[in-house]
């Protein structure tokens, strides 16, 4: 199968590309970021923005049969309005190109933060639930909108087998993404009096799940998860970090200061309340089985990203 991966230079996307290549697929990608060694692995990377002409040219000339859309970003990596443009306009462009150029299968790789963190929402979120608590954390609005937009392809583009996948927090060795960024320092801020459950998945398991979704040609919306969730304090402790519980108001004040990310106060809800997903639908559709326990995942991360010995407060 000819698989195109927009956003191929990202950590998980690279691993997926290599795994698919190893499994005998033809793999190419589009990204504004470089991936120097891709050609050596037999993977072609077209440099450019998915919203620009260069991306459409790739669809026209390379003729992918399947697309795994991973060119979305979070508030941790791209701040401001540009993030919204990448997530929404980029997603629209990818879906339009798929429809125009006869792509048979499309996977949109979203995030479980779609469901929002709120004290009165169900602990386990099924795919049938709406997004919640968006008013508290506007930084997530464009990702949620992109996810909802992707889901419209299920009825707008019936000729394209579309799967909308919602991934939990991931950790690799050393790993990329929101949780790895959060754990990068010696000390990790926590909200005093709270210890939410976190769903964590090892990156190799994520890649396996994405490969299965592709090869089983899943259609619909699916939560993806590995081992059962664990409290954030366990993640912090087992990765060798020191949790620093701070009162909510102190932490709100520190956002955007002293090395803390510039996020809305509502983002702290993700350190108060759990976002845990029910993945039974995906298990039934694909037979997925995770290989890495939580202990394995945290140990691998700790070994690959040891605690920094010096530096700032965090």
């Amino acid at each position: 199968m000819r698989v195109l991966i927009p956003g191929i230079a990202g950590g998980i996307a690279r691993k997926l590309a290599l795994r698919l290549k190893l499994a005998g697929h033809d793999v190419a990608g589009v990204d504004i970021r470089p991936w120097e060694n891709a050609r050596e692995a037999g993977i072609e990377v077209f440099r450019g923005d998915v919203r620009k002409r260069v991306a459409e040219d790739v669809f026209r000339r390379w003729r992918p049969e399947a697309v795994v859309h991973m060119a979305t970003v979070t508030a941790f990596t791209v701040p401001g309005a540009e993030r919204g443009r990448i997530n929404l306009d980029g997603t629209k462009a990818v879906f339009d190109h798929c429809a125009t150029h006869g792509v048979k299968q499309l996977l949109f790789v979203g995030r479980h933060t779609f469901y929002g963190a709120a004290p009165d929402s169900p602990l386990y979120h099924s795919e049938d639930e709406p997004p919640r608590a968006l008013e508290a954390i506007p930084e997530l609005a464009d990702l949620v909108a992109a996810d909802l937009y992707a889901a419209t392809a299920l009825w707008r583009l019936p000729e394209v087998t579309t799967g909308v996948l919602r991934l939990p927090y991931t950790l690799g060795a050393p790993g990329t993404g929101t949780l790895a960024s959060f754990l990068k320092g010696r000390r990790v801020p926590l909200v005093l009096g709270y210890d939410p459950l976190f769903h964590v998945m090892q990156e190799e398991d994520v890649v396996t799940a994405l490969q299965l979704a592709l090869e089983k040609k899943v259609r619909g919306i699916f939560n993806i998860a590995g081992p059962a969730p664990i409290p954030l304090s366990v993640i912090v402790r087992e990765t060798g970090r020191m949790g620093i519980p701070l009162p909510s108001r102190v932490l709100s004040f520190l956002l955007g200061r002293a090395g803390f990310p510039r996020l809305s106060v509502g983002a702290l809800d993700h350190l108060r309340y759990p976002i845990v997903v029910d993945n039974r639908r995906f298990l039934e559709a694909t037979g997925f089985e995770f290989q890495h326990s939580v202990a394995d995942t945290l140990r691998l991360y700790r070994e690959a990203a040891p605690v920094p010995v010096s530096g700032g407060w965090l």
């Binding site: 386990y124 210890d195 409290p231």
Partner: protein, 273 residues
């Protein structure tokens, strides 16, 4: 054997799928359950001197719904029911309450409620837990039940009907129970709703000595025979209301049975004015 050693063994014998960190898929933590049980056991045995009857009616394994009356202005009843299933059952079972929404909003209470398996009273939670063969604890009177004033302490206010539909959908037995003495332990004379609203809770119960601190009144829990209803949960309201009335009637009967026993033992005159 020291009290704490026995409690630790009881928590170890819980038939829940704890992982290598002592946490189950719902976030219930052995450590937190153990710590909470240490405190609750002291209160259960030495402060309230709880008498528990009919514990054999609770199934040792498999799904079940403990359904009873609220008694007392704060959740003393829930804490003591939880302690009774941990201390009096063999093997012990953790009863998981469906709690008021505000409990998960606040620091500390959110953490302890989550780690001991006490989740917000949502149908999604109840259904999932029952399908996982857990033991649910439900007070169908809701917050109106804990708001009962001292003279109404043995009455029952309106029951919600959702619990019966859930029992039918999940084919779960309902184990009725009566909780006695909570209304005397916290003799509420007035509920401060406005103050409660300001603090983010439904109300603050006020007692003759102002604060809702429980008095050392002997408490009793009477578990009754399980009730099993057959159906799909999609029945008309009047059918469901009929089942709810049966549960309510059974709980009222258990309350009367308990009160008669207390009078017989002369406790009512001494401790339950």
């Amino acid at each position: 054997m020291a009290l704490s050693d026995g409690l630790e063994a009881r928590v170890d014998r819980l038939e829940l799928p704890f992982n290598e960190y002592g946490v189950d898929p719902y976030g219930i933590s052995k450590k937190h359950v153990r710590d909470a049980l240490r405190l609750f056991t002291l209160i259960y045995r030495y402060y309230f001197r709880v008498r528990c009857h009919g514990i054999h009616h609770i199934p040792a394994r498999g799904r079940g719904m403990l359904v009873g009356n609220h008694s007392g202005g704060v959740a003393v009843d829930g804490a003591m029911v939880l302690t009774s299933t941990m201390l009096e059952m063999d093997p012990p079972r953790l009863s998981q309450g469906m709690v008021e929404r505000f409990l998960h909003k606040f620091p500390v209470s959110s953490l302890w409620a989550s780690r001991t398996g006490q989740f917000t009273g949502l149908p999604e939670h109840a259904k999932r837990l029952l399908e996982d063969d857990r033991l649910l604890m439900i007070f169908p009177e809701g917050a109106r039940g804990t708001a009962k004033l001292y003279p109404d302490r043995y009455s029952l206010v309106d029951f919600g009907t959702g619990f019966v539909r859930l029992a039918l959908q999940t084919r779960s037995p309902i184990i009725p129970f009566a909780f006695l003495g909570g209304g005397s332990a916290i003799p509420t004379v007035f509920n401060a709703y406005t103050l409660g609203k300001l603090l983010g809770v439904p109300y603050i119960p006020l007692t003759p000595y102002l604060l809702p601190l429980p008095l050392p009144v002997q408490l009793e829990i009477h578990y009754g025979e399980p009730l099993v209803f057959h159906g799909t949960g999609d029945e008309d309201d009047h059918v469901i209301e009929g089942y709810v009335a049966k549960v309510k009637e059974r709980i009222a009967g258990l309350i009367e049975l308990g009160r008669a026993g207390r009078q017989h033992r002369g406790l009512a005159r001494k401790l339950l004015p």
